[in-house]
Symmetry: C2
């Protein structure tokens, strides 16, 4: 019979941890002296502990290990467990690889451009009702003219609007003759009409960034964002959205208090 300190020395596992395993039932001590509560272990329990440590090293939780241990598992069942864990571990490895790639990409961007670069966040946005008009306009920065039309057509329904948004439908960047959709996100559905379309934008996975300030510096944000998309192995999968989260009337191109979010729908090519 070994005292807990001896068992700890043999196994290189801390006394604290052994007590924890005993307490949680993962590895019960072979005997407890009822006089003084001392735990006693058998040398033969070292193989149980080794099994626990090996499974832990494979990435199983203590709870999973406890289940496997008390069930007197066969080689075939063990193989099944390990194959499941293998799949999870592959996924994990892929995630960590992607994370490293994102880090590398950001470092490159900072080194090449000498500035901080925009923070790009990948997120899934829910379905969203929108009231809008879609027209071919001469250039990006003339999109503002469309909002008057929308709000005039909506009339009292304007109260259901949250904030302005633009969608760029051209699959490639175009200087002129831009296929633009402009309108407002809606708190709830409102009737369409008067040339205004009311429809629901689908749920989508978006690479997004926030631009603070003047619209004249928007191209830098687009630059960071689109490079992020390309360098991390995504492709653009739909119209890019611009959300005008803070704006003031009358609209000015160089108001530094404006807040704009750019969203690029993305997908991983198969």
């Amino acid at each position: 019979m070994l005292k807990i300190g001896d068992f700890s020395a043999l196994s290189q596992i801390s006394v604290k941890t052994l007590r924890y395993y005993d307490e949680t039932g993962l590895l019960r001590s072979a005997h407890i002296d009822p006089e003084n509560g001392y735990r006693y272990y058998l040398a033969g329990q070292l193989s149980d502990l080794h099994r626990i440590l090996a499974l832990k090293d494979f990435g199983f939780s203590l709870e999973q290990i406890a289940q496997a241990m008390q069930a007197g598992i066969t080689a075939e069942q063990m193989r099944g467990m390990l194959l499941l864990r293998q799949a999870e571990q592959r996924k994990r490895l892929e995630d960590e690889t992607d994370r490293l790639n994102r880090l590398n990409s950001r470092i490159r961007l900072i080194e090449q451009e000498g500035r901080m670069a925009y923070d790009v966040v990948l997120k899934s946005v829910p379905k969203q009702w929108i009231a809008s008009v879609r027209e071919t306009i001469p250039a990006y920065n003339t999109v503002g003219n469309l909002y008057g039309k929308v709000s005039a057509a909506l009339g009292p329904s304007m109260s259901a609007c949250q904030f302005g948004v633009a969608l760029w439908h051209d699959p490639e960047f175009k200087e002129n003759d831009v296929d633009a959709e402009a309108g407002f996100y809606l708190k709830q559905k409102v009737p369409a009409g008067n040339g205004v379309s009311v429809h629901e934008l689908p749920e989508a996975t978006m690479a997004t960034t926030i631009h603070n300030g003047s619209y004249q510096r928007l191209p830098e944000a687009y630059d960071s964002l689109l490079r992020w998309v390309a360098e991390n192995g995504y492709q653009v999968a739909g119209p890019i959205r611009e959300l005008y989260l803070k704006i003031s009337m009358p609209v000015r191109q160089d108001d530094e208090s404006y807040v704009t979010e750019i969203q690029v729908p993305v997908s991983k090519p198969a």
Copy 2:
């Protein structure tokens, strides 16, 4: 001013998390109504939140992020942070890759041998005093004869002994003329003499496994262990140790109550 729910909807970050960030000072709400305690956010804070999320995605802890955020960091400082994180992430990726390899190796072993295979654990063992004799013996299983010599030579010092141990000094497996060292681990240093050497084994990183039962099945344990060492990219880096953790007198080759630990010192080839 946005209520916490609005800010949550815009950012896709849960209200709970936003409150947690406020509480911990990571992202304070711009204003708190003193009447009712409601938190209010500005749209401009979205870019702060985006920075937090981007850094979190890179693997920084919230505490690290908080420090970086309140210091008004420059692009160059940010680059330094990211380079440090990059090195950590590379290490992590390597660890996770090794873990997957260990998993693969174990699965292969089970599939090829149709049994559970031994649980191999990598651990670092501390320096250890030993009293021993070293001789060339006809075969492995005749090592038992040496222990009598050692205990006779030690005399009353035997009380400082913990358990018997054998070291195999041959770099390759040998059936005959085995260069063997046999003796006992010591609780403290004792005087040498009478043909017994007392010296200290160095600290070492060991791949280890526990064998329960008859010595006749020890070769299976060696098989699992040495395959593990080879398949996980280690090389043997010193004499293999056998620790006789539970044994009884007289020694029998087929006693199923014996417990033996095999330790292979390993290193990663450069």
